[in-house]
Symmetry: C2
Subunit: 343 residues, 2 copies
């Protein structure tokens, strides 16, 4: 069988409809028995020896001439998922009813195909060298093709973060700003023990004093629970001094998490901004922290390798990687979770 | 007992020598029974109630006035290591014979002290908000104090990377540059199987073809094993097109590793540039890869949080984190290993 390239499709006649579409889910049926294949589908049929040529070109020649626009990456992902037993289609009108912008392929559940209504994933395919705007994630899964053509899959979701840590905090606390932390010399016991603010000073030689990070202190001052000389402005000024504008963004996320009754603590040991605890009864019975949170601007462009690093680390410590995306003008935060996907 | 601050030292008389230095390794002995304490040592003695005041100031007041120059971080690390059973001194002349630039504290082996000759670590103390020039690492361990005053320790070492993978590679191979990889349609079997170059195309439907990443191809062309139309220049130009100047640096490291008989393969799944195999007999009997390599300029300044991320991930997958530091002018590479340290 020989196909002919017309625009971006490969048309095949003969018994193509039965042979390619009906029995194996390739292409979209046209009138009669003709089928239109995407270039990726056509290349895959050639790889398997089920299509001889396109305008007389064999597989190698066709591949060589199909550079640009991410063809190679899409082809590799298509072939990989076919091998894993999935049928899939290009996410384009003609193939699917409701193409999703930013998605390249529609993957059907195993055992289903383009004739069925179910969709397992909408998949965006990128090379490890492209960046991915955060705004494009949340509705699609991601397939990243690395320089050796290995493929890594990620699931992405918008997340409604909620917890239950909502203990009363006394409102007559005072502290003093010392370098880049706030010291409370006589902190009420429950501030740390129940609400998990701060860190006791002195280790095995307890002093009764508590140190707060700047975001913790700024949050408590903003909520009128804590008084510090110079007030909120002074703490934020100190924060900007040591961290730049990142401080404002981290504070916005800290406050967004506390408002959702989730406790953020430093994620430094995991290379993240925060680790979070949704349900703190008391620090003596602290559970496992659930999320690792990285704070980013909402117009952030992910570098796939950095994404792979974060998600792999979170997975390794049995936590979920969550990106807190901050709108710098409105100071609103949305949460994007990215996890490993093994199709 | 009361001390008096003179320049950067706290002088204490009375029985200070016996009380602080001889029995517990604080300070440096002066004439008679007087001892000079660093501010950090003096603060620690006050925290423990073993020194009452300095120029009449108590612990809280002294701490409040000792901001700047990283005092808080050094104090926290000093106190932490004391609690873990170590004696330590400031890495300054008067306290030690050969102070190491860039090191803040000398830590003695457990059971030893400043009277002995042994040193366990030279320790550089930084806050998580400071950056650390790569050039300052290799001789010192690192203590990073995060925003909640938790401390993370790292060991750093200059590394002589060496492997034994040195199989002969045929020298009459030809390939073609397709987008951002090089395809070899009739690759000699041992190129992949023994020397672990490239990746076979076609998965479960083997095509006999091999794809090389651009760094693999550029290396083989430079070594006159592989011929590609346009030659070395064309591959490097393509690499710069898709990766910018990072490509040259990654290629320099790739070649440095191969010259040392170590096989670099992509580290993408671990968020690194390369993972490496020192001793490849054949791909069928491939061992565990030993290092994760991140490629950096040799004037790189580490952000402690990024360092924590890399080292934690490598530890979690039982590999060693290695930074390949490239001198962009001379194209030479040195290797810096950073690992977790639990004192």
């Amino acid at each position: 069988m020989d196909g002919r390239l017309r625009d971006d499709e490969v048309l095949v006649g003969g018994d193509a409809r039965q042979r390619y579409y009906d029995s194996r889910g390739y292409g979209r049926p046209l009138d009669g028995n003709e089928v239109a294949l995407s270039r990726v589908e056509a290349a895959h049929l050639m790889l398997r020896g089920d299509l001889d040529s396109i305008d007389g070109k064999g597989f190698r020649e066709f591949l060589r001439d199909s550079t640009g626009d991410g063809f190679a990456a899409r082809f590799l992902v298509y072939a990989d998922l076919r091998e894993r037993g999935f049928y899939l289609s290009p996410d384009r009108s003609g193939w699917v009813y409701d193409p999703l912008p930013g998605s390249d392929l529609v993957v059907y559940p195993r055992g289903s195909g383009p004739w069925d209504d179910e969709v397992q994933y909408r998949l965006r395919v990128v090379s490890e060298r492209e960046t991915i705007p955060a705004a494009h994630l949340g509705d699609v899964a991601l397939a990243v093709v690395d320089e050796e053509s290995e493929i890594t899959y990620f699931e992405t979701d918008r997340l409604d973060v909620r917890g239950t840590t909502n203990h009363d905090v006394p409102s007559d606390i005072t502290g003093s700003l010392v370098a880049d932390r706030v010291l409370l010399w006589d902190a009420p016991d429950e501030l740390h023990r129940r609400s998990f603010y701060g860190q006791p000073i002195g280790g095995r030689e307890p002093t009764g004093a508590l140190q707060l990070s700047l975001v913790e202190a700024a949050h408590l001052v903003a909520d009128e629970k804590l008084a510090v000389e110079g007030g909120y402005e002074e703490i934020v000024a100190r924060g900007r001094e040591v961290e730049g504008e990142r401080f404002d963004r981290r504070l916005a996320v800290y406050r967004a998490l506390r408002e959702r009754n989730v406790v953020p603590k430093t994620g430094f040991k995991f290379g993240a901004d925060f680790r979070t605890y949704a349900d703190v009864e008391s620090v003596e019975n602290l559970g496992h922290s659930e999320f690792l949170v990285r704070v980013l601007r909402d117009d952030h462009e992910f570098v796939p390798r950095d994404l792979a690093l974060d998600v792999r680390l979170a997975h390794g410590v049995r936590k979920r990687m969550v990106f807190a995306l901050v709108d710098d003008t409105k100071r609103t935060t949305t949460f994007l979770s990215v996890t490993r996907l093994t199709p």
